[in-house]
Amino acid sequence: MKRAALLAGAAAAYLAAAWMVAPGFYDGFAPPQPYNFVCPPSQAGANLAPKSGQAVIKVINGVSDASDAFTDDGQVVIGFLPGSFDGTGKTSVTVNITPVSPCPNPPGLHFSTNTYDITADAPLVKSATLVMRYSNLVVDPSFAYRADSPNGPWTKIVPSPQAQIWTVDLKVDKFGYYAAGYPSNSIAAGGAGANNQILPVTIAILILVVLVGGIPLTILRRRQARSGDADDDEDDE
């Protein structure tokens, strides 16, 4: 009984320790690098402020180089093809990515990611590829949204198929404010959203199996132990 109590204590200690860091124990196969939120949800543990990023892209004879701009924490990456900018009269183009604070809270929408203000000192003339990472602690975003101001109005953008898990990938042809999320009155659909309930359901099934399997096995073992004792008694007689 004492051992069982100590095991239960160790389990409780584990639960407390794992609760301090989201998602808890993992072994490095799908490391959910913590997302840096501007406005962390209640279930997030320790949170660091998200980083901004800047890239200076060379322009030679009016043609900009192929390049990437990204935030220092890697939460937003935007890739540019050669000649993506109107570089007339320029020797370089500067791209800035800045997390927006306070968090925009547009009516009818819920943003899963931070909102980022992406600017450049030259207009885009070719589509760029924007990749926004999101947290495993939030509902998967169904769409990306763009606006010219943090106050909106927000235009819905259907993302490209996910190249990597926990990312929203999209083609953009102008700069502005970008976020990924979903309509407040809907459940996120598509992407990794389909497996939203796998883990809780799996845990529920495991608990059921342990209870349904454990009770008869324990009874059986006790009966065997009793019959063993009885056999010993008969042998003694």
């Binding site: 808890g24 124990f25 799996t202 342990v210």
Partner: protein, 149 residues
């Protein structure tokens, strides 16, 4: 991927020369021990199940690697190392030593903030190994946890 699988096999090789019973891999009470593994998996995954909205589905190759590495880790740390430390210094050394070395090994792949949870998981699995004389349940719990996260 092959490197991960090879790593798992290499870890498992550390059990070479140990009798299965010494490693906690005997066949007695196997039904209860299998259920114990599921119960340990529930405990390991409970925090994630409560707070995580979605989990990644591992590609098959990565799932195989996850199984190889988690089985290898259990056999190496709570199998062979645990048995060696128990022979050398008794049960407390086996539990504390295997937990400390397991946590240290994870320091290479985990941010420092996660190591407390890793150590607590190691302690739980180590105590199970000690009191139930069983490694089957830690292996099952660890494999399921690795496949889920």
């Amino acid at each position: 991927m092959p490197a991960l699988i090879l790593g798992g096999v290499a870890l498992a090789i550390t059990a070479w020369g140990w009798a299965p019973d010494k490693l906690g891999l005997g066949r007695s009470r196997i039904g209860l021990r299998l259920l114990g593994g599921l119960a340990l998996a529930v405990v390991l995954l409970l925090p994630a199940a409560v707070r995580v909205s979605a989990i990644p589905i591992l590609p098959p190759a990565l799932a195989v690697a996850a199984i190889a590495v988690s089985v290898g880790e259990e056999i190496a740390f709570r199998g062979a190392l645990f048995a060696a430390l128990e022979e050398a210094g008794g049960a407390p050394l086996a539990v504390v030593g295997s937990t400390a070395l397991w946590t240290a090994a994870h320091a290479l792949s985990h941010p420092p903030a996660f190591l407390v949870a890793v150590a607590a998981a190691g302690l739980l699995l180590g105590l199970w190994r000690l009191w139930c004389r069983d490694l089957v349940a830690p292996i099952i719990g660890h494999v399921i946890a690795d496949l889920a996260l």
